[in-house]
C-alpha cells in the first residue's frame, strides 16, 4: 500500500505561498492598514502580585490624539480560558478587574491616532496599587504558607493529573535495579518572528472583523465572541498569513482582546502589535518542569516499572497548561512498554508569566529526563543503550494500556538506522561524544475542551469550469506549510497538479470550522478531511465520465495528471479539463463541490496515530570553559508516508534549531518575577551560521488512519534533542546533566563534582 506510485505526494513541491513571502507581498496582520485606523498600546503591570485599588485615566485622555483608554471596568469582566468546557480552568481576565498576578500583565489599553501618542499616553495612566507578597517557584508556591494567587485555589495547585496502568508496585518488586533522579527543565519563549498582533474593526451593523496572528481562527472567533458578548457568527477572524505560532498563538491574547474592546467602543479599526519585549514578558511560554523519575529494570534490560512525579510552573494562569500536564506524563512513558506505569503531575500557579503549550507539548521536558536516565541505567548495568531501547520499544499492534493503540510503528528501524550511523562515525576525538534519544508523538490530539467533545477537521472543495480547484480548509497555515500539504493531498486525490489548487484558509467567514494548527493534527486530521472532500468531488466528475465514455461497469475510472482514464487501459481516456467543462455545461448553476470531514472515534485517550523517531546528536565540550559545540544532528524518523517532502525537511531543521536552543541556549531567568532577558541580544536563539547539519533518514511505514498513510511530522521532532545532547555530553565527559539549559557553567560544575567524587 505504502508503495503506491504517487504523482504529487512526496515529490519536490515548493511552498505554494513561497513567492508571496519572499517578495514581501504576503499580508501579515502586522501589515494590515485600514482607513481611519487607530493604534493601541497596552499598559502592563510592574508588580508580580498586586491589587488594583484605582486606575485614573484622566491625564491620559487629555493627551491630544488619544481616543480612548480602557480598563477592566470597560469590559464584561468575563474570565476566559481555552478549556471552555471546564469553568474552573477559565481563570484569566485579559484586563483584570481586581488584581494582577505577573509582571507584564495588561492593566489598561489606549488607542490613539499614532503609535507614539498611544505609547506616551501610557505614562499618564495613574494606577494605585496594593502590592501583595508573591511567589515564583512551584515548589515554594505549593507550601501551606505561600501567598494565594487565585482565591479558593488551595496551595496554588491549578490542575493535577494521574496516569496509571499495570500493577506498578509489583512490577517494581520484579526489578533487579531501581534508579531515581530529579530533573529541572526550563521554560522557553515561542519566539515567533511575528509578535502577537491584531487589527479589530467593529462596524455599526454590529459585526466585528479581526485580523489576528493566530493558530486557530476558529478558537479566536469563539473566544472573542465569548468575552465580548457577541454571536460567533458576528465575529469574523482573518489570518491569511501568520508569522509562526509554535503553540503560543491559539489562546486569546491581549492584542486581540484590547483592539476589539476599543474598536467596539469607537466604531473604528484599532491595531495592536506587541513589541518584542511585550512578546517575551507577556505572552506565554513553554512550561518549566521539575521531574522526579524512578525506574525499575531487570538485569537483562527488560523494563519493569516507572513512577514519576512532576511539578510544573504554571505561572499566573491556566492557558493550555492542563493539556501539557497530561501529555508530558503520557509521553514520558514513550516509546516503551512498561508493565507498570504511574505519573502524578501537579500544575502550580506562581506569580510569573503563564506557561502553556509549546512545540512538543510537555514531551521535550519528559524526554530530557527519561531518555537520559535510560542511558545512565544502561551504564550502571553495563547494557547497550540501542539494544535496551529495541528490546522495550513500542511495536505495531501494541496497546498502551487504557491509553492508546499503536497501528503503525517504525521505531525499531529508526533505532537500527541510527545505530548504523553512530557506528559509521568510528572513534571520536577526546571530549566529543554522540548521544541518542528516541521518542514518539501524537498525530493530532483527539481531545477537545473548547466546545464540542470532538477534535474535528473539515474541508470543502469546488471545481471551477476551467478545471482549477478552490479548496476551503479550516486548518491554519502558520508558516509550517499546511496550505501546501493540503494542496498536495488535494492534487493527488483529484488527479490534478498543485498549481491547479487554490487554498483558502484563515477566514472564519468562508472556511469550514476546524480546531486549527496545534497538537500536530493538521496533516492527519485536516488531511483526511481534504482527501474525503476531493474524493467526493471526484466521484461526481467520474459519474459523468462513465456516462460520457459509455464504458462497461467492470472498468474503473481514475484521474491522474489531468488525464481521465480507464484504470486497466490508461491510454483510453480524455483530458480532465474537457471532462470538467462538459460536466458543468449542462448544469443549472449547481457546482461540483465535495465536502469532507474527520473526527477520530474510539482511538484511545490521546491520538489516532503516533510518529516515532530516534535522534543522535554529535557534540563536543571544551573541558576548560564548558562551552558546547554541536557538530551534527541526525534523525531517523517514522512519519508514515511523507506528504510534503520539502516541508518535512524544513520542519526537521526548524525543530532541530528550536530544540537545540532549548537544550543549551534558551533560558528565561526571572528575578523577583521579572524576566531578565526580554530581548534578542540576551535571549539566545541559534542563528543560521551556527546551525549544525541536521540530516534525516525517513523510515517507510503506512498509517492506516492517516491520509495516504501519513502521520505527524514537525512537532515531535523537538522531543528528543535535549536528551540526545545530554547523552552526548555524558558519553564525552562522563557527567550527568539534570538541569536545562545545559550551560557552560553547569558543565564545569558537573566536571568539578565528578573530579571530587573520584577522589
Amino acid at each position: 500500500m505504502s508503495h503506491a506510485k504517487y504523482s504529487v505526494i512526496n515529490t519536490h513541491v515548493h511552498n505554494i505561498d513561497g513567492v508571496a513571502k519572499v517578495t514581501g507581498r504576503a499580508t501579515y496582520t502586522f501589515d494590515v492598514k485600514l482607513p481611519g485606523m487607530l493604534y493601541g498600546k497596552i499598559l502592563r503591570s510592574p508588580h508580580p502580585h498586586a491589587k488594583i485599588i484605582n486606575i485614573d485615566t484622566t491625564r491620559a485622555m487629555e493627551l491630544p490624539g488619544v481616543k480612548i483608554v480602557v480598563t477592566g471596568k470597560d469590559t464584561l469582566g468575563i474570565k476566559q480560558g481555552i478549556w471552555r468546557r471546564y469553568e474552573e480552568l477559565c481563570d484569566e481576565q485579559v484586563l483584570p478587574l481586581e488584581k494582577v498576578r505577573y509582571i507584564g500583565e495588561p492593566v489598561a489599553a489606549v488607542a490613539a491616532v499614532t503609535e507614539e501618542i498611544a505609547e506616551a499616553a501610557l505614562d499618564l495612566i495613574d494606577v494605585e496599587w496594593e502590592v501583595l507578597p508573591a511567589v515564583y517557584e512551584p515548589l515554594e508556591a505549593i507550601k501551606k504558607e505561600a501567598p494565594t494567587i487565585h482565591e479558593g485555589v488551595e496551595r496554588n495547585v491549578n490542575v493535577t493529573r494521574h496516569i496509571e496502568w499495570g500493577d506498578v508496585d509489583e512490577a517494581f518488586e520484579d526489578a533487579d535495579y531501581i534508579r531515581e533522579d530529579w530533573f529541572k527543565c526550563s521554560g522557553q519563549a515561542h519566539m515567533c518572528m511575528e509578535t502577537r498582533a491584531a487589527v479589530s474593526s467593529f462596524t455599526p451593523e454590529g459585526k466585528l472583523t479581526v485580523w489576528a496572528s493566530t493558530q486557530s481562527a476558529y478558537y479566536t472567533q469563539g473566544l472573542l465572541a465569548g468575552v465580548l458578548g457577541l454571536r460567533e457568527g458576528d465575529v469574523r477572524v482573518l489570518a491569511p498569513y501568520v508569522g509562526g505560532g509554535f503553540g503560543g498563538k491559539f489562546e486569546l491574547d491581549a492584542a486581540m482582546f484590547c483592539s476589539a474592546v476599543m474598536s467596539m467602543k469607537l466604531f473604528k479599526p484599532v491595531k495592536v502589535v506587541f513589541s518584542r519585549e511585550e512578546d517575551f514578558i507577556a505572552s506565554k511560554r513553554r512550561t518549566p518542569m521539575f521531574y522526579y523519575v524512578r525506574t525499575g529494570i531487570k538485569k537483562d534490560g527488560t523494563f519493569c516499572a516507572r513512577e514519576s512525579r512532576m511539578f510544573s510552573n504554571g505561572g499566573a494562569y491556566t492557558g493550555m497548561g492542563a493539556t501539557a500536564l497530561y501529555l508530558s506524563g503520557f509521553f514520558h512513558s514513550f516509546p516503551y512498554k512498561w508493565r507498570g506505569y504511574r505519573y502524578d503531575g501537579y500544575r502550580v500557579y506562581t506569580n510569573t508569566l503563564p506557561s502553556t503549550s509549546m512545540r512538543g507539548f510537555g514531551a521535550p521536558q519528559a524526554m530530557f529526563c527519561s531518555e537520559q536516565q535510560i542511558d545512565w541505567i544502561c551504564a550502571d548495568l553495563g547494557l547497550d543503550p540501542f539494544e535496551v531501547r529495541r528490546k522495550n520499544g513500542h511495536t505495531e499492534g501494541y496497546e498502551v494500556p487504557g491509553q492508546a493503540f499503536i497501528a503503525s510503528c517504525g521505531l525499531e528501524q529508526c533505532i537500527n538506522e541510527i545505530e548504523k550511523w553512530v557506528k559509521s562515525k568510528g572513534k571520536l576525538p577526546a571530549n566529543r561524544g554522540i548521544g541518542i534519544s528516541s521518542c514518539g508523538f501524537m498525530s493530532g490530539g483527539i481531545f477537545n475542551w473548547f466546545d464540542s467533545p470532538y477534535s474535528f477537521s473539515s474541508a470543502v472543495v469546488t471545481i471551477n469550469v476551467d478545471g482549477t480547484v478552490e479548496l476551503h480548509v479550516g486548518c491554519q497555515d502558520i508558516g509550517q506549510g499546511s496550505n501546501t500539504t493540503m494542496a498536495i493531498i488535494a492534487a493527488e486525490t483529484l488527479g490534478v497538479k498543485v498549481e491547479d489548487i487554490r487554498v483558502h484558509s484563515g477566514d472564519t467567514a468562508h472556511c469550514p470550522a476546524d480546531l486549527g494548527a496545534w497538537g500536530s493534527r493538521q496533516t492527519l486530521m485536516a488531511g483526511n478531511a481534504v482527501k474525503m472532500a476531493c474524493e467526493d468531488a471526484k466521484k461526481q466528475l467520474l459519474e459523468f465520465a462513465y456516462a460520457e465514455m459509455g464504458i462497461n461497469i467492470v472498468y474503473d475510472l481514475d484521474i491522474k495528471d489531468r488525464w481521465v482514464h480507464i484504470v486497466a487501459r490508461p491510454e483510453r481516456g480524455l483530458p480532465y479539463g474537457d471532462l470538467v467543462k462538459k460536466a458543468l455545461r449542462a448544469k443549472d448553476g449547481q457546482r461540483i463541490m465535495g465536502r469532507g470531514y474527520y473526527t477520530p472515534h474510539r482511538k484511545g485517550m490521546i491520538s489516532p496515530a503516533y510518529s516515532y523517531m530516534m535522534q543522535a546528536v554529535d557534540a563536543e565540550v571544551d573541558p576548560e570553559t564548558g562551552k558546547i559545540k554541536i557538530h551534527e544532528v541526525m534523525t531517523a524518523h517514522d512519519c508514515g508516508q511523507p506528504i510534503n517532502q520539502l516541508g518535512l525537511v524544513g520542519q526537521l531543521e526548524g525543530a532541530a534549531s528550536m530544540a537545540l536552543g532549548y537544550a543549551y541556549l534558551e533560558d528565561m531567568p526571572f528575578e523577583d518575577g521579572k524576566m531578565m532577558n526580554p530581548n534578542l541580544v540576551d535571549y539566545k536563539v541559534i542563528k543560521a551560521p551556527e546551525m549544525p547539519e541536521a540530516g534525516i533518514i525517513e523510515i517507510d511505514t503506512y498509517e492506516p488512519e492517516g491520509p495516504y498513510g501519513a502521520k505527524e511530522a514537525g512537532e515531535g521532532l523537538t522531543n528528543p534533542t535535549a536528551a540526545a545532547l545530554g547523552n552526548a555530553i555524558y558519553n564525552a565527559m562522563g557527567i550527568q546533566m539534570k538541569e536545562l539549559p545545559i550551560t557552560p557553567e553547569r558543565v564545569l560544575k558537573a566536571l568539578r563534582e565528578k573530579k571530587e567524587a573520584q577522589k
Binding site: 570553559t625 539566545k684 551556527e690
Partner: protein
C-alpha cells in the same frame, strides 16, 4: 521609539567637523549599528544627527612596511575582514572581524564607530591594544593621537570631547618575531563576548620574550591591560607554566561583573583560560614568524 531629529549629511571631513562644532545637541552616526539601538531604547535622543558615512576621506586601508597599517574611521568591519593586506600582515584582525556580529552588521558597522562607542565588550579594542595601536581623533580646532590603550576612559566613554571625530587607527608594522591572538567566550560564535582575551608576544633573537601584552575584553569598564602578567613574561623563556601563571594573574586582576550570562566566578575562570591559551598561541606564532 526613535525621536524626530534633524539629519545632517556633510560631504567632506571639513564640513563634518564644522557642523559638529556648530550644533550642541548633536550625535554622530556612522554605521548606526550601536547608536540606533540606544536611540530606539530612548536612551539617546539628539536633536541633530550628523551622518559621516559618506565622508569618503575617512574610508581607507593603507599599509606600508615601515609605517604599518592605517585604517580610516569610516572603514567598515567587512572591509577590514576582506582586506588582503590585513589578512597577510595582521591575520588576528581578520579572525576577530569574522566573529564580530553578523555579515549584515559588519557591512554597516565601522571601526571608528566601534571604538568611539567604547563598549568594553567590543572586539576590536583589546586586539588593537595588543597590537600596540594608536588612535587619531580631532575636531575643527585640531587633531590628537594617543595610544589606544589610553583612549578608553570608562564604560562607553573615551578621551574625545564634543566636536571630536575618530579619524584613524594606526597599527605599527609588526616586529620580526611577533604573534598575536584573540578569542572571545560566548555561547554562539558571533555573539558579543561574555569575556575575551587578546595577547601578543614579541621574541628576541635568542627566543626569550622581548615584549608581551595581555588585554581583557568585558572584564572591566575599559579593555583591561594586565601589566602584571605582561611583566611576568618579559625577559623570560616562555613555557606552559608561565602561560598558566599569567592566566591566573589575569583571572585575579579582572573586574568582571556578573549578569545572567555568567557569574563573576565563571568569568574570572574563563579569562584565565583564554589568557593562557592566547599567550600560547601568540608565542607559537612568534616562534614561527
Amino acid at each position: 521609539m526613535i525621536n524626530d531629529f534633524h539629519y545632517l549629511k556633510p560631504a567632506s571631513l571639513k564640513e563634518a567637523l564644522a557642523m559638529y562644532a556648530q550644533y550642541d545637541d548633536c550625535k554622530v552616526i556612522c554605521g548606526g549599528q550601536s547608536l540606533l539601538i540606544v536611540m530606539r531604547q530612548g536612551m539617546v535622543a539628539p536633536e541633530y544627527l550628523l551622518d559621516i558615512k559618506h565622508v569618503k576621506e575617512l574610508s581607507y586601508i593603507k599599509f606600508d612596511d615601515k609605517d604599518g597599517l592605517r585604517i580610516g574611521a569610516t572603514t567598515t568591519h567587512r572591509e577590514i575582514e576582506k582586506s588582503d593586506v590585513i589578512a597577510k600582515k595582521y591575520p588576528v584582525l581578520v579572525a576577530m572581524e569574522e566573529k564580530l556580529a553578523s555579515i549584515q552588521t559588519r557591512n554597516w558597522g565601522t571601526i571608528g564607530g566601534n571604538l568611539a562607542h567604547a563598549d568594553p565588550a567590543g572586539d576590536p579594542g583589546p586586539v588593537l591594544i595588543a597590537l600596540n595601536a594608536e588612535i587619531k581623533f580631532g575636531s575643527s580646532s585640531g587633531e590628537k593621537t594617543v595610544p589606544l590603550d589610553e583612549f578608553f576612559v570608562d564604560y562607553f566613554e573615551t578621551k574625545m570631547e564634543h566636536g571630536d571625530l575618530v579619524l584613524e587607527v594606526h597599527v605599527p608594522a609588526p616586529e620580526p618575531k611577533f604573534g598575536c591572538a584573540y578569542q572571545k567566550f560566548n555561547l554562539l560564535d558571533s555573539d558579543m563576548g561574555i569575556v575575551a582575551a587578546a595577547a601578543s608576544v614579541t621574541l628576541n633573537a635568542d627566543g626569550t620574550c622581548k615584549d608581551a601584552r595581555v588585554v581583557l575584553g568585558n572584564a572591566g569598564p575599559v579593555p583591561l591591560r594586565v601589566t602584571k602578567a605582561e611583566d611576568l613574561l618579559k625577559g623570560k623563556k616562555l613555557d606552559d607554566a608561565l602561560f598558566a601563571e599569567a592566566g591566573q594573574i589575569a583571572s585575579e586582576e579582572a573586574q568582571p561583573v556578573a549578569d545572567i550570562h555568567a557569574s563573576e566566578e565563571h568569568r574570572r575562570h574563563v579569562l584565565g583560560v583564554l589568557t593562557k591559551r592566547m599567550l600560547k598561541k601568540a608565542f607559537e606564532q612568534a616562534q614561527k614568524a
